[in-house]
């Protein structure tokens, strides 16, 4: 997945919370070790991407309109409130872009990209969508929210999930949280049946299913209290 690395043109620092997570620590430690090598790679990928873009532009001019050449697509999107601009390959998925380029690793992969598990759910323009079945190049102008953003905004769904122990290993939790938040955004007063229906596309291998509806209902109640 990482063989075609892309360089972000601009990246807003939207994570300046000062809090260091285990993942950040490992990432930074890895970066420090590999820094000299990475510097040169980054230059060469930039050069090759540029060369590729030029080549495909030249090809595009000569090829007929019916067979456009593959080229990098500029995409500007908002993720968790931060604005990002990337050049993406047409076959990249949104999940790939979020994890490998932007650095939000909450969209997980379980079913392998079939759309059968809901682990990679993100909220895109208000709809809970599967980032593994969404092409990154179609996300221009999209407003995306991942579990990181929901946690950072201190949405009551997070505390409700903790209070209700609605997870065991936690791998599926980001997907559940995104789906639940999208439901609460649309329907602040859901019934238990609504919750079960909305979470119907998320699988949990630890089988914590019974704990999700009370957690979401608790979040709905505390949202109402706040309002």
């Amino acid at each position: 997945m990482s063989e075609e690395k892309n360089k972000p043109i601009k990246k807003d620092d939207s994570e300046g919370s000062g809090h260091i997570s285990r993942r950040d620590f490992l990432k930074d430690a890895g970066l420090a070790v590999g820094a000299p090598a990475l510097g040169s790679i980054a230059v060469s990928t930039e050069a090759s991407a540029q060369a590729k873009a030029n080549a495909s532009a030249a090809k595009g001019a000569s090829a007929s309109a019916a067979q456009p050449a593959a080229e990098l697509v500029p995409v500007e999107l908002t993720v968790n409130g931060g604005k990002y601009r990337y050049m993406v390959e047409p076959h990249w998925t949104l999940r790939q872009l979020l994890r490998d380029e932007v650095g939000f690793t909450s969209p997980k992969d379980w079913c392998g990209g079939l759309g059968a598990c809901g682990s990679c759910t993100v909220i895109m323009n208000g709809r809970p969508v599967l980032s593994c079945l969404t092409l990154a190049c179609e996300c221009g102008g999209a407003v995306i929210e991942t579990a990181e953003g929901i946690a950072k905004a201190k949405h009551p769904i997070i505390q409700a999930y903790i209070n209700n122990n609605a997870f065991q290993c936690g791998y599926c939790t980001p997907g559940f949280v995104c789906t639940a938040k999208a439901l609460l955004d649309k329907n602040p007063d859901p019934t238990e049946a609504d919750v079960r229906d909305a979470l119907g596309g998320n699988l949990c291998r630890c089988a914590t299913y019974q704990r999700h509806p009370p957690a979401v209902l608790e979040a709905a109640a505390s949202l109402k209290q706040k309002a």
Binding site: A66, E71, A116, A198, G200, G201
Partner: protein
């Protein structure tokens, strides 16, 4: 996760532009993408498209409105929007329910009605990753399900030797509601829309694109319903589903996931034109599966009583 192989991506601005791109060959239509991208990722088909033609950028294809005595639904209308629309829930109940029971909430938020009716058929040999079985549906010589494990396959025989079933939940509803499907070339009766064409599931030409679904407003006194049997309440494709519209001395009943295309239960329709009660519904269910036959080995025999019950329940839900 298996990554997608490279392809070019074009945002179409008009249906004509999309059609001309498709005419060039080696191109595939992309709307919701929930079926297509999985098929590409797992390289289910022997060929891989060079270009994906994105239809979502064509303006004015996402709408639900009633006009001229019919309901018109734009091809790019998402399934969740159809399922949640009160007008459809009230007057075109079978369609709202069919859309609601499709796949998962996420896929309904992404998938479109046109994509749902144009999705490829399901068969675990046909859909096996890396094109492992070059079956009749891919232009090969044999159907692996005929001799293999066919527990989910057709109970009404093969079409052009293929036993794969059409998995759409909205398709039987559209047939029951007597819908028409409008493309950039013609208007097709829903009943005639599907066929076994390698590797597709519809009669559409390579450069033909669904633009609108048209459903005549049911007469007063008509009721419609949709019933689905699947292993899980959410996520799963149907083992058998059934949609019915009954009233004013007319009945239209359509099963799906039992045959290569949505299967209209004509014999059941004959029986139910009078009054509906437990006995007539039971008899109609039996009539619907009278010609059903398990495949050699009886692995899919269990689907027959389920199909019978689905017909019965769909009828009773219209009472």
């Amino acid at each position: 996760m298996k990554t997608l192989k490279k392809f070019a991506h074009v945002n179409a601005k008009t249906v004509d532009e999309a059609a001309s791109l498709l005419r060039s060959g080696h191109a595939a239509v992309l709307s919701g993408g929930t079926d297509l991208l999985g098929t590409l990722r797992f390289e289910v088909l022997p060929t891989y498209p060079e270009v994906l033609v994105n239809l979502k950028t064509i303006p004015g294809m996402d709408y639900i409105r009633e006009e001229g005595g019919m309901l018109k639904i734009g091809a790019l209308t998402r399934l969740e929007d159809i399922a949640k629309k009160e007008l459809i829930q009230k007057k075109y109940t079978a369609l709202a329910e069919g859309a609601h029971r499709t796949a998962t909430p996420h896929i309904r938020e992404m998938g479109t009605i046109a994509g749902n009716i144009c999705q490829l058929n399901r068969c675990w040999y046909f859909r096996n990753p890396d094109n492992r079985f070059n079956c009749i549906r891919k232009g090969g010589k044999m159907c692996y399900a005929m001799a293999g494990d066919n527990r989910y396959h057709s109970i009404f025989g093969a079409v052009k030797m293929c036993l794969a079933v059409n998995p759409s939940d909205t398709a039987p509803a559209l047939v029951a509601l007597n819908a028409k499907i409008k493309t950039n070339k013609r208007l097709i009766e829903a009943e005639n829309f599907w066929d076994m064409v390698v590797p597709g599931s519809t009669i559409l030409a390579a450069d033909e694109i669904v633009t609108e679904i048209q459903i005549p407003t049911p007469a007063a006194g008509c009721k419609s319903a949709f019933i689905k049997f699947a292993i899980r309440k959410s996520i799963d494709f149907p083992i058998v589903n059934c949609a019915a519209m009954i009233g004013n001395g007319n009945a239209r009943i359509c099963l799906n996931a039992v045959y290569n295309k949505p299967y209209r239960a004509l014999k059941a329709e004959e029986l139910i034109k009078g009054k509906i009660d437990e006995d007539t519904a039971d008899a109609a269910g039996a009539a619907a599966v009278a010609t059903a036959k398990a495949l050699p080995g009886d692995r899919n025999k269990w689907k027959i009583p389920i199909a019978k019950t689905m017909v019965k329940r769909a009828i009773l839900a219209c009472a």
